[in-house]
């Protein structure tokens, strides 16, 4: 009743092609943005921002980037953490070495550096695919892990191996309080999500999907695999690089290479699988799920008076993630996003399913 599109006629091409063609969806998204931008900053607690919302937004952004590569273009990557690290350290170097470098510009330059490195490690994808490529991207992971630990130039000769940034500001507005950090991340994520959504609907996005579904057939109908794969690597690593900058600068403040270890890569891949391969929405679902689950597992036993040790919790999280990944691959390969859209489909017919 509430979710039915009777009488919503599209009278122009623009109306037919908009991202949310159904009025109720537009309303829901509008409300969501209102809550995110206005209500949350007024009501949220500091813990909520620091431990839940900021990591959620940044990891969702990284998952978004990875989803473009894995979900849309079918090039599996286990080196996401590496590209995040490249973005973070590059932005750090730009910020430290150039006087008066604005944060936004440093962030974009960090993203661009990640793009270059991503394309470089994407080149093998032209010759190899699938399993072999996964190993090739692992090379990026191990190489950057080593480089940022051993080559002191990258860390501006920091003796401890960890680097830190302070006094962030955008156009003179300081990004120090949790609310400011949250709003900054939220803005960046919204801009990138919108751009990514539109990109995946464009000709380039369709080429990615054609390559994903069957690369040989795509090449036969005139899609250039080189262009499609490398653009996917470029766009993906740009977004992942920016997410890396946010993670390091805004969330952590001070970090060392371990912040972008192989575990982070796996974590992001899991977000993409659980959230939904080939779905922008899925990146958010996946990130929310993976950020919130450990917190819940930490809290719930407390309420029932059976506190688990940290180690047990972490093992439990491992097991649940593992089981869920297998479950989702078997039962719903398109992840939570698909469940969501099935739910919406049902709502449109309710209460008269046919």
């Amino acid at each position: 009743m509430l979710y039915r599109e009777n009488g919503q006629f599209k009278t122009s091409y623009a109306a037919d092609q908009q991202i949310f063609p159904i009025a109720q969806d537009r309303l829901a998204i509008g409300l969501l943005l209102l809550v995110a931008f206005v209500v949350m900053p007024m009501t949220g607690s500091e813990y909520l921002f620091r431990a839940v919302l900021i990591p959620f937004l940044i990891l969702a952004l990284a998952a978004l980037g990875l989803n473009i590569l894995v979900g849309y273009c079918g090039q599996i990557s286990l080196g996401t953490g590496a590209f995040m690290a490249v973005g973070a350290y590059a932005a750090y170097n730009f910020l430290v070495r150039i006087d008066g470098m604005p944060l936004i510009v440093a962030m974009l330059l960090g993203g661009l550096t990640a793009t270059v490195v991503g394309v470089l490690f994407g080149i093998p994808s032209l010759r190899i695919k699938g399993l072999y490529l996964a190993v090739a991207t692992l090379a990026a992971q191990f190489f950057t892990d080593w480089a940022f630990l051993r080559v002191s130039w990258f860390t501006n000769n920091s003796t401890s191996g960890s680097v830190s940034v302070a006094g962030l500001n955008v156009f003179g507005v300081p990004i120090e309080s949790p609310v400011a950090k949250y709003l900054f991340c939220l803005t960046v994520v919204c801009v990138f999500a919108l751009a990514a959504k539109n990109l995946t609907r464009s000709a380039t996005g369709r080429q990615w999907m054609a390559i994903r579904d069957m690369d040989v057939a795509a090449a036969v109908i005139g899609i250039r695999p080189v262009y499609a794969k490398l653009t996917a690597f470029a766009v993906s690593s740009f977004i992942v690089g920016v997410a890396g900058v946010l993670w390091a600068f805004v969330h952590l403040g001070a970090w060392e290479p371990a912040a972008f270890s192989i575990d982070r890569s796996f974590q992001l891949l899991f977000m993409v699988i659980i959230g939904g391969l080939g779905s922008i929405m899925g990146a958010f679902f996946g990130a929310a799920f993976i950020v919130v689950l450990p917190i819940i597992l930490d809290q719930v036993p407390h309420w029932f008076g059976i506190p688990l040790s940290t180690a047990t919790t972490s093992h439990l999280v491992h097991m649940i993630f593992g089981a869920l990944i297998v479950f989702f691959l078997i039962a719903e390969p398109h992840g939570l996003a698909k469940l969501w859209s099935i739910g919406k489909q049902k709502m449109r017919l309710w209460p008269f399913p046919h």
Partner: protein, 309 residues
């Protein structure tokens, strides 16, 4: 010269151990087309089971003999790996028949996470030791030929011999037995193999059990060398470039790849490492494999993949 040879031997021995883990990957890929990312987790799980059972069984049954404890622990751990293989087939693989390689790869990633958690929940997450009576002292050989002789770790030598024996046994198993033939048939074409009456399920259980066996042996050797702890599952990440270099479908490739990576790693660390600031062992294998892939995407002995629309 003596130092160079020592490094070379060290590399060869380490390479043999990489091969042993790589073998697990190759076996499963060869017989079912699944790239088993969980091999590392299986090594950890098997080693944890072995270490803990060797400690628990004498307590439960009340005897002292180390040999008997190890033997019983080995049998129990092996039984556990077979149960695991059966469960993986039942709960996961049988439901993913005919899916794409990437889906299966991600499923094994899930299995790997699950096993990491399960193993440490069941067996604890401290550092355990496995004592199967491997000789620990280094041996001096060729003292007459070189000044100072060559220092060789007996432990590595024994490990290398065990790996070699295992490889030989597996090669014979694949080539000479009816089951081996069935495995190869399944690898070649699932549907064709099924249509002539080869039971796919049983083949998968067998192959995962064999991979579990390889994981157990690798786990025991690495575990008695380094101690059993979480980092053991990361050793498998070292075996990935070995598999890639050797070719995913080739047992000899896994061996040769392991030797090349082992030797390359040690030599590069010693002779090139100082130029890069050391620690290049971490990525050398990967970069070597990556460079090789660009020239020859199917690896040393891998089968060339031909795509048809």
């Amino acid at each position: 010269m003596g130092f160079f040879l020592e490094t070379l031997f060290g590399g060869l021995m380490a390479g043999m151990l990489y091969s042993l883990i790589a073998l697990g990957f190759v076996l499963i890929y060869k017989a079912s087309g699944v790239f088993n990312f969980a091999q590392g987790a299986m090594v950890l799980f098997a080693a944890l089971a072995m270490a803990r059972f060797a400690e628990w069984i004498p307590k439960w049954l009340g005897f002292e003999s180390l040999l008997l404890a190890n033997l019983l622990a080995f049998i129990v751990a092996m039984a556990l790996m077979i149960v695991l293989a059966w469960l993986i087939e039942r709960l996961c693989l049988s439901k993913l028949v005919n899916q794409e390689g990437i889906t299966l790869l991600m499923a094994t990633l899930g299995i790997s996470y699950f096993l990491d958690g399960l193993g440490q929940t069941l067996f604890g997450n401290d550092i355990y030791s496995i004592n199967v009576g491997m000789p620990k002292d280094p041996a001096m050989i060729l003292e007459g030929t070189f000044e100072g002789g060559l220092l060789i770790s007996k432990e590595d030598l024994v490990a290398a011999l065990i790996s070699a024996a295992l490889v030989l046994a597996l090669a014979l198993f694949f080539q000479k037995t009816a089951t081996g033939r069935a495995l190869r048939a399944v690898a070649d074409d699932h549907q064709a193999a099924q249509s002539i009456g080869i039971p796919l399920n049983r083949i998968w259980v067998i192959v995962w059990s064999v991979a579990g066996f390889a994981a157990l042996v690798a786990g025991i050797i690495w575990g008695s060398k380094l101690g059993v702890q979480f980092s053991l599952s990361l050793v498998a990440l070292k075996a990935l470039p070995v598999v890639i270099l050797g070719g995913l479908t080739s047992v000899p490739g896994a061996i040769l790849g392991g030797l090349i990576i082992g030797v390359g790693e040690k030599l590069s660390e010693i002779y090139l490492g100082s130029f890069f600031g050391g620690g290049i062992e971490i990525w050398f294998a990967y970069v070597l494999a990556l460079g090789f892939l660009l020239v020859r995407p199917q690896g040393l002995f891998g089968e060339k993949i031909i795509d048809r629309v």
